[in-house]
């Protein structure tokens, strides 16, 4: 039986997963997604403030996943990519509504809101970010 994700664990990340809420260090100017608890450059000298990303980005690498983890069987095969957000950070996310033969490095993409996984058929549904070609 697949391991259930914890409810507090998924709820805690809604703003990040629903709206790409990250943060930015005012001291060094770098943008972070996911948000950092400590700026890796400035450490305690850094001042972190909330920042919601635009959702625009480009594909930096991609793969087509044929052997999905538990809970994502119905979506397979799917495109998984590393998306470079225009503000700087790199995120791991699926690319949807795209012809698998057309995905390539450099493709511009934008944020969409989709189901990521669900906890069997009686548990919580996990929503979050995916991307689609512009």
């Amino acid at each position: 039986m697949p391991h259930r994700k914890t409810i507090p664990g998924v709820w805690r990340r809604y703003p990040q997963r629903y709206r790409l809420k990250g943060n930015r260090c005012e001291t060094c100017g770098e943008y972070f997604f996911p948000p950092r608890v400590v700026c890796p450059n400035c450490r305690r000298k850094g001042k972190l403030v909330d920042y919601e990303f635009s959702g625009n980005g480009k594909i930096e690498s991609f793969t087509i996943v044929y052997t999905p983890p538990d809970g994502m069987e119905m979506q397979a095969p799917y495109v998984l990519a590393l998306v470079r957000l225009e503000e700087g950070p790199l995120v791991t996310a699926q690319i949807v509504d795209v012809d698998k033969d057309e995905v390539d490095i450099g493709m511009p993409v934008k944020l969409v809101f989709r189901r990521i996984s669900e906890d069997r058929d009686d548990g919580v549904i996990n929503y979050g970010y995916k991307f689609t070609p512009v």
Partner: protein, 385 residues
């Protein structure tokens, strides 16, 4: 810190071991290591165990205590070490430091993983624990997919081909067929890899290391004790470790594992040698692309030239540097916590001239390279006679 040597090694056959659990696998490897060293259980002062996930594979935590108990070693200290796929290598390092520091004179370090009791889906999910749960795995990243993302980028930046990656698997199967402990005893061809079913493009089934049960163990002793125990001590010339971001998307480079680069440089510096002086290397080929990255990041070849070097046979058995003579993770198998220790076993056997059909001519300096996850931990050891 004083010098430390490997004075005994042992392992069991890697594969699907239906009859055996953690206790049986550990005992088999441990007893062989003690036999090989010619010592008894009373001589052991501490036990270190590399094990990634007893909990999620067989529901068992507290694995250090489990094995000390199973081997009748109580009340010596027993410590389980975890760093995903580098649990074994890191356990070896912790054991080495314990002896080098003077805290202990003789310890046993083993690695064990029991992966085949669960279905493949659960095993995949558990292995995914080596990645970033919240920001990689949650979104559908599987372990193969992370290395696939690296492979795609390596192909894009350096022109590495799928055939060059396939050569790594072919080479390692050739070696594995000469290793009685390897999970796979058959040779394969490039076409076999190219035609195997896709897992996460461009990686196919035969680009990926398997799910395996197994254990390996080595005995470590301080210099004075080592010389008393054996005529063929294998000296630990360097032990180094480095870290990098947990998630692939937080790395500075997608085609280089900086933890390997840093640990490798530290190790070569400690041993006072250059990369090309290494004769044999057990590197972390969890996927074929990982070996290409390893030979580049360790400095055997320049960044981007790993694929061509593999293709040209540079790392074949008795090539410039014999890489993964054990069969690597690919053909020998990858019982996660055991792999790092198996690497030490293989290097030791090679340096002692006891590697049978896969013996490397003039094996003098060996290197073991063990990576955790997609590169968040790297452990490098250099051994010699």
């Amino acid at each position: 810190m004083r010098k430390v040597a490997v004075v005994g090694v042992g392992m069991g056959k890697f594969g699907e071991r239906w009859e055996d659990g953690l206790r049986e696998l550990s005992a088999e490897a441990g007893l062989r290591a003690l036999e090989d060293a010619g010592i008894t259980g009373d001589d052991i002062q501490a036990l270190y165990i590399g094990n990634m996930s007893g909990g999620r594979f067989v529901g068992q935590e507290h694995v250090g205590a489990l094995i000390a108990d199973a081997m009748g070693l109580n009340p010596i200290p027993a410590t389980r070490v975890e760093a995903a796929c580098s649990s074994g290598g890191l356990a070896f390092r912790e054991a080495y430091l314990a002896v080098a520091s003077g805290e202990f004179d003789l310890v046993v370090v083993g690695g064990v993983e029991k992966m085949t009791d669960v279905l493949t889906g659960q095993a995949t999910t558990t292995l995914g624990g080596a990645a970033d749960q919240e920001w990689e795995t949650f979104f559908g990243a599987t372990f193969p997919s992370l290395y696939a993302l690296i492979a795609r980028r390596h192909m894009h930046e350096f022109g590495t081909t799928e055939e060059q990656m396939a050569k790594v698997a072919v080479k390692n199967h050739y070696n594995g067929a000469r290793n009685p402990f390897a999970q796979y005893q058959r040779e394969i061809k490039i076409e076999d890899v190219m035609n195997s079913s896709p897992v996460a493009s461009p990686l196919k089934l035969l680009d990926c290391s398997p799910i395996t049960d197994g254990a390996a163990a080595v005995v470590l002793a301080s210099e004075d004790l080592a010389r008393k125990i054996t005529d063929t001590p294998v000296w630990v010339r360097a032990s180094a470790q480095a870290s990098d971001s947990l998630a692939l998307h937080d790395r500075k480079s997608l085609t280089s594992l900086n933890a390997t680069v840093v640990a490798g440089k530290k190790a070569f510096s400690q041993a006072g040698i250059t990369p090309r002086q290494v004769n044999i290397a057990e590197v972390h080929d969890c996927f074929t692309i990982a070996e290409i990255l390893a030979v580049e990041d360790l400095g055997f070849v320049k960044k981007g030239e790993g694929g061509k070097a593999e293709e040209d046979g540079m790392f074949d058995l008795n090539g410039d540097i014999s890489v993964n003579t054990s069969g690597g993770l690919k053909a020998c198998g990858h019982p996660v916590g055991a792999t790092g220790i198996k690497q030490i076993v293989e290097i030791s056997l090679q340096l002692r001239g006891e590697a049978g059909k896969r013996q490397v001519d003039k094996a003098e300096i060996g290197l073991a390279h063990n990576v955790g996850g997609s590169g968040a931990t790297a452990v490098v050891h250099i051994l010699s006679r």
